[in-house]
Structures are given as C-alpha cells and as structure tokens.
Symmetry: C2
Subunit: 410 residues, 2 copies
C-alpha cells in the first residue's frame, strides 16, 4: 500500500459502522458546554478591546502564570517569563525544530515515537536516530551507547525528543529511576532534552509523575498542551524553555504568525480562573481509565496466544505486537472490511520497523465500542494466523510513509 491507499482506507474507516481504534482525538463530549459558552461570551463582551485585538508574541501574561500553576502539578517551578504560548504543542515542536535543526543534524527520538514529530523533523531534513524502549520507557543504556557512538563519529545530536509519560504510540511511561538516569546522561553529553508531555495529567493510578524539566530546568525544553486536559479546539499549547532559547522561540513565533489568538488565550485563562479545572481533569481521567480497562480486559479475553501489548497507566494508547509472521499494515484492509481500524506500527518509525505492531486508541470510542472492536480485531488476527500456518508468512509490502491518519480522524 502506498500513502494515498492508506489515506483512502482511513477515509473508509471513518464510516460509522467501523469501530475506529485508530484516531487520537480526545473525547470532548464530557465538557460542560453551557459553562464554556458563558466563558467565551464573557471574554468577548467584558474583554473585547483586548480579546479582539493583536496580542503579544509570547502570549498573554496571565495565562502564562496559570500555565506555571498547571506545570507545578508535575513538580516544575517555572517563571511565566520563560513560557511561550503556541498553536498547540505541535507549533512549539515546530518552532524548536526551526530554531535548532539545520539539514543533516541528528535528532534522537524514542522508537516508536509520535508520528507528527517524525514529520516535523523530516521537514527540516533532520537525521532521525532512534533509541530503543521497553515497558519502562527509553532504555538508558541504549541512549548512552547511541550518544557515545555519535561522539566517536564526530557527530553531536541537537536534542533528544521524548514523550516520557503515557507515550504516543507505545503507552509506556519512563520510570522514576530512569528519569534520573536519562537526565544525568543527557547532561553528561551536553544534550538538550525536548520533553513533550500532553498526557502527563491523565494518569489512572497515581499522582502525576515528576517532569524531567523539574530536575534539569537548564537542560530541558518542556512542551505542554491544553488539548487533552481541556480541548484541542482552542489550539493552546506552550513551551517552557531556558531564557536564551525562549527568546529565540518568541522571535520565531513572531515570524511564523505574529501572535496566537489572544481571544483563545483569554478563554483558556478565564476557564482556569472560574472553572474547577482539576475536577474536570479527574473526570477525564475516570472516563479514559474505564476505556483503558475495557480495552485491556477485551484484549486479555479475546486475543490469540502470541499477541502481546502494553498496559498503559494513563493517556490514550495501547501498543500491540502481533505473532511472528504477521504484518499489521498488510492486515489493515482485511481489518477494515471486518469493520475495525487501527494504525499500523510502521508510521511511528523513521525507518523500516514496526511491521508487527499497531497502535490501538481507547480515547474516543465508548467501552462498548472498544469491546466490539477488539472482538472483531481478534477474529482478523486469528484468521491471519490460520493463513500463515497454511501458506507461510505473509509477504511484507514495501513501506512508503503515510501510514497514519490525521489527528482529526475519529
């Protein structure tokens, strides 16, 4: 399948009869629409002269204060002066890449990693080098070996991009012990860390993990977002960066868009002021926890032996590994004809890995839909195993990018 075919397939997958375990859309149906309606109205009527005008390139000062309060939940002690508001954390990722990466520069990432980060690094012609992960996140020894190898080759990576908590797509979380090791290794190799943390407050089982930034503020650029804890519709994300970097990011933001919507910034600021946002996040956590539970118990009950998967403690995603000889990308058309969709693993690597993997999302479908989707998926896997046992391994198609849907796909 080439990219256009995969995209066509995902278009089919968005039909209502298909259970999509593919998309990463948050479930915004839990939001209090009447309260939010009052908030957006009052921002226009009470603060119109500011809200409808141009705003500062760095972002609204009061919102930047509130963002610091949000980050304090993860142990970060930051100044609003070092925060810059962006169009989702995606723009922060783009601006950081723009400031740091010249063509051919090395960027380290986990393997697998967030697909749009791969696209952004590739757009700036970075040389993406993967570092392996296991169920406790990136493997410190692998990180150290990679850095030593690069050093011996006379190459210096620009930064290590990581989603340490409830990773997209793997659903795993970097353990506390490894956080200390990763920070220490990066400091030793003088390597900047780019910590992308959209899911950090969506943990199901414990208090939020301590952010990497909390223990290495001079060495970590932290990216945050309200897309999962409030709504992606306002496109409010941010970067927290050491002062010298932050100044460059503000100039880049000004060049990229003059300034983000001050109206949206004041809406989020007022929401944080007047709405019990911590309670709202608790509600989200409960909802996503029930969906995660539905997915894990359905996988346990339905999947044939030889299939394995991660057990996320939060976030949106489960990472599944098929039995040997199966190919998730080749299997996708058959899955869609059985009315279930997922994202093949190949899209989450810069190279040719991930054939036996798929990302399953539990964020958007209901628990009932999840159970039904997993039941259908297990049937497809069983049929594939039977084919493999009869005819041998399925021939692997050539990967050619475009393996992932856009984030607006249900």
């Amino acid at each position: 399948m080439v990219a256009s075919e995969v995209r066509a397939l995902f278009a089919v997958a968005s039909r209502p009869e298909v259970v999509s375990l593919a998309g990463g859309m948050p479930n915004v149906s839990a939001l209090p629409l009447d309260d939010l309606g009052d908030i957006v109205r009052s921002v226009v009527t009470d603060q119109g002269a500011t809200a409808l005008q141009y705003g500062p390139a760095q972002g609204d000062a009061h919102l930047r204060e509130q963002i610091c309060a949000v980050m304090a939940e993860e142990g970060i002690d930051a100044s609003p002066d070092d925060v810059i508001v962006t169009v989702g954390s995606q723009q922060a990722l783009d601006l950081v890449t723009r400031v740091f990466v010249d063509p051919g520069d090395v960027v380290l990432t986990e393997a697998p990693t967030y697909v749009t980060a791969i696209n952004t690094f590739a757009a700036f012609q970075a040389d993406i080098v993967h570092v392996s992960m296991d169920e406790d996140g990136v493997v410190p020894e692998a990180l150290e070996e990679t850095l030593a190898r690069l050093e011996s080759e006379g190459r210096q990576a620009k930064f290590f991009y990581t989603v340490p908590t409830f990773q997209n797509p793997a659903g795993v979380t970097l353990s506390s012990q490894r956080r200390r090791q990763v920070v220490e290794i990066c400091r030793r190799f003088n390597l900047l860390v780019l910590e992308d943390n959209p899911y950090g407050l969506l943990g199901f089982e414990s208090d939020p993990m301590r952010a990497l930034h909390a223990d290495a503020p001079d060495n970590v650029i932290y990216l945050g977002s309200f897309s999962k804890t409030l709504s992606p519709g306002f496109r409010i994300g941010w970067a927290l960066a050491p002062a010298a970097v932050r100044a460059k990011l503000v100039l880049a933001a000004e060049s990229a868009m003059l300034s983000h919507s001050i109206f949206n910034q004041l809406v989020v600021a007022r929401y944080l002021d007047v709405h019990p946002w911590r309670e709202q996040i608790k509600d989200f956590r409960e909802m996503y926890r029930r969906r995660r539970d539905a997915m894990l118990s359905a996988l346990e009950a339905q999947m044939p032996p030889g299939t394995t998967w991660t057990r996320p403690g939060g976030g949106f995603f489960v990472w599944l590994t098929l039995p040997e000889g199966l190919d998730a990308k080749a299997m996708l058309p058959r899955a869609v004809s059985e009315r279930v969709a997922y994202v093949p693993g190949t899209g989450f690597f810069s190279g040719d890995e991930g054939r036996r993997n798929m990302r399953l999302s539990f964020c958007y479908p209901t628990p009932e839909q999840i159970r039904e989707g997993v039941r259908r998926l297990a049937g497809v896997v069983e049929a594939e195993i039977a084919l493999r046992d009869t005819f041998g391994n399925v021939p692997a198609p050539q990967s050619s990018g475009g393996d992932t849907p856009r984030p607006d796909l249900p």
Copy 2:
C-alpha cells in the same frame, strides 16, 4: 540607536500622554460586541462537538466557501479546494516562504515593504532584492530591469512579494494599468507573484480594485485576512494558491501546527453567515476615511515646506518624506519627548534606505488625537530644520534593525 533602544523608546511611546502614529492596530472598538458574544457562545453550545475538537489541516470547508465569496468582491473566481486557512495571513506568508525559499534564494519586494515580511524572508535566509515604487505602486520598468539583470546573472527569483493595494507602509496602490503590466512581466519571466492583500476592501473612494490573482490565477498566490475587516483576535487569514502549491502548503501547515483553531474558524463562519459583514466593512471604511482625512488635512495645514507625503485611497498608512538633511530615526527620541510617535522608514527596507521617511498610521487614534499628533510632529520637524540650518546636517546614526514596533503597540 540599536534595536533594544528603539524598543525601549516604543515602550515609552505607548504611554497614554503620547499620541502614537506608530502602530498598525485596527480599531476594534466599532465591533458589535453583544452580537459577537452571542455568536461565540452559540458556536460552543450548538457546535461544541466539532468546535472543540481537532479540525482539518486545510481549514473548515464552509469557511473556505465563504472566503471565496469575500474574494469575489475583488474579481476572484476561486474554488474552496484551493484555499487554506492560516493563523492570520502572516502564517500564510511564513508557509509560502518555507515551501519556496532555500538559503540564498532571491525574493523580490517593493521598496519600502511590510516589515514582518522582511523578517520572515530573512529568517529563511532569502536574498531580498527591492524594486522601486512611486505613487502608483511598483514601477513596471524597474521590475522588468531587475528581472533582466537577475537573468543575466543566472539567478531566478522565487517570487515577487507585493502589497498592491493601500500598501503597508507607503499607503500607495498599484494602478489598474500597472496591474496588467506587472502580471504580464511576471508571466514572461515565469515568476510567481505573492499578492498580500489585507486592506483591499478598505478603500475610501471607489469599488475594490481587481486583485492581481483575478487575472493570473495560475501565477499568483493570494494572501487574505479577516484581521482588518473583522478582528485580528481570531487570527484567521488564508492563502489561495494553485493546486500543486496548495497541497504543499497544507502539508507545511500540518507540520507547523496540525490545524488552526476550528473554534475560531466556526466563529468567523457564523459571523459571515448571520451578520451583515458588508455593512460592517462599510462602517470601518467610513471610520478610517475620517481618520485619513484628519491626517491629510492636518499635514497640509501644519507641515513645513519641503515635507511630502502620500495620499492613500484606503488602508491605514501615510508615508512621509522629511526635508533633505533630516533623519527620521535620529529624530524619534525628540518626537517622543514631544509626545508623538511614528515608525522610522529604515525598518521597511532590507538595506540602508528610508532615513528621511516615516510611516504615520491613522487607524488607531481618533481624528482629534491625529490632529494633535500631527501638530506636535510638525513642531519637531520645524525644530529639526532650524537645527539643520544652524549646524548643518544631522549625522546619520548606524541602522541596526529593530526599527519598528510590534503590531500590538497602540
């Protein structure tokens, strides 16, 4: 003065006792806040499931249809398929530059030109080549000579960036006859035109000019914006581009921010659906016309001989030329101490031109403030002339960038 000094000076200039003729902020006080409040509320309460979710990277389909209706006012017959919604037209400018410009590539612009375009082109390390203007806009012969010279040097410009109507900063408009010539010359030299048109519907004296795009849709990328005809607070701009370019812009937009705020897009779409937006633009035109008239008659009455200025037929800006031997940048601190501010001309050129020029904005201050500001400014100019006559020419300071304020400065 270095950049930081100029910025400090503009900080002083934002004090209430100073009449600022510097900033380019639209006057949003004329907007119907109650109506807009109802609109934003209903988008949340009636369309929340869509408005608060991720949206498509190209932008909302209905809004793109409406944008085509707006552009039809300028003779453009476009398909919504070829429109991409951006964070103000600034992001469209940035994305076009990102797609087309490699370091060292030539970009043609008018002289003077929009300062943030210079910054964006410079951020992508373009070689900016100016083409001279007069009161009828860019001079076709100069454009042709420049292109022939580049061709003889074996160089090909990537595009010609132009603000053909009510130009920022010069306030001049490309005549109908010259529009035909410019399009013909660019076609002959196989040169793409980047037509930036934020002020096109804000003409004071006649129907809107026909856009360059209307007569050369395959050769012109058109940039539009609701920042001046509605509000900059929503940050809704757009690009209209030939299909092949548009596809690249959508990919670049996805990499830059995933998607713009769908909430804001639905707000603007609903505003265009339910509000008499053409009447609103008429009101804006009347308001800005009165301010333009106040500025022109005050300049006529107050300015000493040897001072000249442009007579804009619309938009926000007058471009003033001081008598010989005077320097607008050197004069700025004295003007601010006399409680009037402007933008020195040097910021609107990539090189060392514009010393005798300044940009005067009539968009934000009231007619009374404009009259008082021009009175103060004329006094400063007279004092400078007296100094020049006594001591000879004022020594020219070294220009070092940063000569312009941010757009959020009143």
